[in-house]
């Protein structure tokens, strides 16, 4: 019997130890572009959080090893031996000094942890916005993201472009977070902690990206049927890339006479009730802005790659990619769908 108890405590202790350390190494190494690991930060808030995380982990890890060590020792050392089953061990009812000791020490640990956490809370939440910051208004919808750059006159969806920042010349992006329907949450782990988008309760957050590239995330507050498909792509652009992107987004929609027929179909088949295309009569705000649809890599907030095939299938029936999203299948005829697809395919 005792060997069983012995075994389980060692198993718990060693297996956790080795699993933990090898996994931690694997995670920190697993910082490919597509893996949004908290331990691979690329922006100031995420960096600071990671440092605090390691600090906390070292304290809690220390507590674990001490207490689990003592437990393991006790379970092995004090197992009943066959010979002495007849007598009971000395009955010890308590000790005030020991109780005090293991109350006071945890209190001290709590004070240390609290002060370090509080410091970072104030540093991140109450950070003043510098002049150079880029302002973005994020509006959460079921099940897509609306991005507006008020000072730049840009409206886009689902894929966010922000400029690269650095410690010498900081250009953070400040995000104002609103919702048009239910609760959502903006979470790109490598850039910052998440902040919720709650109707009638404006929130704000900021990122300070220090490495260019693509960072992925997704909605982190259950918002309905297709919550899982409300993905985020944040492109951290070099200054040149960013100004090029801004310039393009500020243009009105491409007007290609070759697809004028398709444009007319779009404008007369109720698409404009939900969608906007700047420079045309389409000014709907219920669905994503399509002015530069083809500048995005995915459709439906990440539901499918943005190709002509997928676009056609999406228009025919969005439910094939995202069953439960709020765009209905419009029951269009095949020629109409083709025309609309060809039209939208010109909107770079």
């Amino acid at each position: 019997m005792y060997s069983i108890g012995c075994a389980i405590s060692i198993l718990m202790h060693r297996s956790i130890l080795s699993t933990f350390s090898s996994a931690v190494l694997w995670i920190t190494a697993n910082s490919t572009q597509a893996s949004p690991s908290l331990m691979a930060p690329a922006s100031t808030p995420a960096h600071e959080i990671q440092k605090l995380a390691w600090f906390t982990l070292s304290i809690t890890g220390g507590i674990f090893f001490v207490v689990a060590g003592l437990l393991t020792y006790a379970v092995i050392k004090y197992r009943a031996k066959e010979a002495d089953r007849l007598s009971e061990p000395a009955q010890i009812y308590g000790s005030t000094q020991i109780e005090l000791a293991w109350t006071v020490i945890p209190v001290l640990i709590v004070i240390v942890l609290f002060l370090t956490a509080a410091r970072l809370i104030f540093a991140i939440q109450d950070a003043p916005e510098p002049e150079s910051a880029v302002d973005v208004t994020v509006i959460g919808h079921q099940f897509w993201w609306e991005f507006r750059y008020p000072k730049l006159g840009i409206v886009t969806a689902n894929e966010l472009h922000v400029p690269l920042s650095s410690s010498e010349a900081p250009v953070p992006t400040y995000l104002s977070l609103l919702s048009s329907d239910v609760d959502h949450s903006f979470w790109v782990p490598q850039l910052a902690g998440k902040t919720d988008l709650i109707p009638n309760h404006p929130n704000a957050t900021w990122i300070d990206p220090l490495r260019p590239g693509l960072y992925v995330g997704q909605c982190a507050q259950f918002c309905g049927a297709q919550h899982a498909m409300m993905l985020l792509r944040v492109y951290v652009d070099t200054p040149e890339e960013f100004s090029a992107w801004v310039k393009n987004q500020q243009q009105q929609a491409v007007q290609d006479p070759a697809v004028a027929g398709g444009q007319r179909v779009f404008e007369t088949e109720a698409c404009i009730n939900c969608h906007a295309i700047r420079g045309t009569v389409a000014t709907g705000r219920f669905g994503p802005d399509l002015t530069h649809l083809m500048s995005r890599e995915t459709l439906g907030a990440g539901a499918a790659p943005n190709t002509a095939e997928n676009l056609r299938a999406w228009i025919k029936n969005p439910g094939t990619f995202k069953n439960g999203c709020l765009m209905p299948a419009m029951q269009l005829e095949a020629p109409q769908i083709n025309q609309i697809t060809e039209y939208l395919a010109t909107l770079r």
Binding site: I8, E88, W102, D126, I198
Partner: protein, 564 residues
């Protein structure tokens, strides 16, 4: 011992003589109309274990769906119903029922009483709770509402507003959630009132409050906490129904209402609720660990004070579920502090259990195996809780698989493990037979392995950025392998639980006869027969210390010479 004592006038057993066996219908009727706390306790626990299997099946379906990315085992809508029902079932129909079932059975026995203070209220409360659960599950097949949308609740077990508003949840799924829980909430309230009254007003002579077995003490604290925990949920759900049916605006953001208000009301219930669920696990550990270490619990007064402290402090931590909603930095800091403070009495309990084992003579019977695993796992659960209390880190970990891992470490690693310990420990008392030891060991090891395979792995999924409540995930996020491992662990746990269920059934007919006191324990329930007669004790016990049976077995060295 009950069967040896001389029956006093008025204590003669007037139940049916053994002249004829009751028919099946008479037996069923007996169970239906019973007000006996022991039968109600068995009904509660059986109900809970049945729903454990149902909730477990929902979990297996969830894990199969998530085993590979972009899976289509179940649709998004069905998945959302399953994870909502899994959470709701496990908290209300498994957790609450099993712990109040244990309390129902054991508290009167441990305090030397004949029954609970209000036996009819006891029965009424059970049937309310039972009906509430059936109402919840009826939603799978029940009405769809005019818009044709409906079926089981699919808004998460926390049902955030305004997703639950009529506009975003047409049909009746949300209504089933609210109504079923209101009904079973009243049942819970009744039982909590009953337990508080029983402990305060029905103790046998000599059993002062500081001589109560710790199981009973913790159930008292737990029931008191329940009184002020469940009722805010009832209030919030009434408000939700007023919004949905009477045009109210409690959570209607278009009319100036606040979605955050729902969160505050829900978590003012939700956080103390998890302490309502975990205190009984401590209660069970407080009985099992001393008996199988052959030592009195170390620091009884400190354990009582820590339990009361946990109950009080737990009322002040709720907004640590809301660090990301945009509260002020001062509010966030406050809840960091309060949450860490509740860790202190919790830690004290772990240290006291360690000190109880220290210097003992540990017997590794099945209940003790589960209790030792509980100690390690609860330690880890508490530490990941501390990690989550650090608000900036919480901004990353909130709503990720790290949180799911943490709370399953508490709910399964601590609570379910203690429930298993309690079942193996008290099954002989309830049925008169021991649970099969071989099956017990298989159950333990398989469940332990499955638990760790699933929930250790899950922590890393959270660190890699995987959020919760998603029916599928992208293949290029690097979450594939860990999800597959997590799902495999779930299957192992399922097998273990099936072995357990089989053991419960098989041992009833074929288990070794247990006798009154198979574990050589020290509290009053082990003094009466197994199973106890309907009247519990032929003579009202009189006690002089915390361990009346220790005093009897060790007349040369009784506890009352040492207790302050």
């Amino acid at each position: 011992m009950a069967e040896n004592s001389v029956p006093l006038p008025g204590s003669i057993d007037l139940t049916r003589s053994r002249g004829y066996a009751p028919t099946v219908l008479e037996r069923l009727h007996g169970w239906l109309v019973t007000v006996d706390h022991k039968r109600l306790g068995i009904l509660y626990v059986t109900y809970g274990i049945l729903f454990l299997l149902v909730g477990g099946a929902e979990a297996i379906a969830i894990r199969i769906q998530l085993a590979v990315p972009r899976n289509d085992f179940i649709s998004a809508q069905v998945y959302n119903r399953f994870f909502t029902m899994h959470g709701t079932t496990m908290v209300f129909l498994v957790g609450m029922t099993i712990i109040f079932g244990f309390a129902n059975y054991l508290v009167p026995l441990q305090i030397g009483a004949r029954d609970m203070a209000f036996p009819r209220l006891n029965a009424f409360s059970f049937w309310l709770t039972a009906f509430g659960g059936l109402l919840l599950y009826y939603s799978f097949i029940g009405g769809s509402g005019l818009s044709g949308a409906g079926s089981a609740p699919d808004v998460g077990w926390f049902a955030y507003a305004p997703l639950t508003a009529r506009a975003f949840s047409p049909g009746h799924s949300t209504d089933y959630w609210a109504l079923a829980l209101i009904v079973s909430g009243f049942g819970t309230l009744g039982t909590a009132i009953n337990i508080v009254t029983t402990v305060l007003s029905m103790r046998c002579k000599g059993m002062t409050m500081m001589r109560l077995p710790l199981f009973t003490w913790l159930m008292l604290v737990d029931s008191g906490l329940t009184l002020i925990t469940i009722t805010p949920l009832t209030a919030a759900q009434i408000m939700l129904l007023i919004d949905r049916y009477l045009g109210g605006h409690f959570f209607d953001t278009q009319a100036g209402g606040s979605a955050v208000a729902w969160m505050h009301f829900f978590w003012i219930f939700g956080h103390p609720e998890v302490y309502v669920l975990v205190l009984p696990a401590f209660a069970i550990a407080n009985e099992v660990i001393p008996v199988f270490s052959r030592k009195a619990i170390f620091g009884y007064p400190a354990m009582v004070a820590a339990s009361v402290g946990i109950a009080f402090i737990s009322l002040s931590v709720w907004a640590h579920h809301m660090f990301t909603v945009g509260m002020t930095s001062f509010s966030n800091a406050f809840f960091v502090l309060s949450t860490e403070l509740v860790g202190i009495p919790t830690g004290i309990k772990i240290f006291n259990w360690l000190a109880t084992i220290w210097g003992g003579k540990i017997r590794f019977a099945t209940p003790m195996l589960f209790a030792i695993a509980f100690l390690f796992q609860f330690l880890i659960a508490g530490l990941t809780g501390i990690m989550l209390s650090i608000a900036p880190w919480n901004w990353q970990l909130h709503n990720s698989y790290f949180v799911i891992a943490h709370f399953h470490y508490v709910l399964v690693g601590a609570i379910v493990f203690c429930i298993f310990a309690g079942v193996y420990y008290w099954y002989p008392k309830v049925t008169g037979r021991m649970l099969n030891d071989t099956l017990g060991k298989w159950h333990f090891w398989l469940f332990l392995i499955g638990f760790h395979v699933t929930f250790d792995t899950m922590h890393f999924l959270g660190i890699l950025g995987m959020p919760r409540s998603i029916y599928t995930y992208e293949p290029d996020r690097g979450w594939k392998t860990l999800n597959m491992i997590t799902s495999a662990g779930g299957i192992i746990q399922g097998i273990a639980v099936l072995i357990f269920a089989f053991n419960l059934f098989w041992s009833y007919f074929h288990g070794e006869p247990a006798g009154d006191d198979p574990w050589d324990a020290w509290t009053l329930e082990w003094q009466t027969s197994s199973p106890p007669p309907v009247y519990n004790f032929a003579q009202d016990p009189v006690v002089r210390s915390r361990r009346p049976l220790w005093d009897l077995k060790h007349p040369e060295d009784p506890d009352w010479e040492y207790e302050g």
